[in-house]
Amino acid sequence: MLRSLLISPDPLDESALIAARRMTGGMGAAVYFSGVVRGSEASQPISAIEYECFRPMAEHQFHQLFDELERRWPVESVRLVHRIGVVKVGEPSLWVEVVAPHRGESFAACQWLIDELKRVVPIWKKPVG
């Protein structure tokens, strides 16, 4: 399984990421999730979220999740980008791509990966007023 992980303070260029997709002939389904910073947090308006990351552990935990994902589903490729630092309202903080032969597998693996990262990857958010 191809894996690409980027944890970065730079803005996330989804169009460029899509353009870089590689799929072999057996693959029929690519599922994407873009998580975008909402304009309020706990009913209070905010202008941004600041993401803090314990990077070596985050990378290790992401790769453990990729290992488990590969055991569970016939996924050819997973790519994940997580922004850190200040991410403004309306900008994506998380981008995930899962490529598999069929849509059921891609959807299941993508949702599982996001659920799990929110459980184990050491990244925290702080609203910016």
Binding site: G35, Y51, E52, F54, P56, M57, A58, E59, H60, Q61, H82, S93, L94, I114, L117, K118, R119, V120, V121, P122, I123, W124, K125, K126
Partner: protein
């Protein structure tokens, strides 16, 4: 033996620092370390049921036996995404 402790997210605000170190007897567990830290930083007590603990880059439970030089991280529930 000495273990270094790193605090993340609002645990830094609760303790007033990003890092601390503790001298512990050989055979001490994470549970023992937490007791020592709660005495030193009482704001951690209220968080004890939602405190996550790692040694290096792996999660560990309270009965993990610490080794000299271990780097322990304490943090609240993660919120990536």
């Amino acid at each position: 033996m000495t273990v270094r402790v790193q605090f993340w997210s609002y645990f830094k605000d609760l303790t007033g620092c990003a890092q601390a170190s503790e001298e512990l007897a050989v055979g001490a567990t994470i549970g023992d370390l937490l007791q020592r830290l709660q005495a030193r930083f009482p704001n951690l007590i209220a968080m004890q049921n939602s405190t996550l603990i790692a040694v290096g880059v792996e999660y560990q439970s309270r009965d993990y036996v610490l080794k000299d030089g271990d780097e322990v991280s304490l943090f609240p529930p993660v919120q990536g995404g």
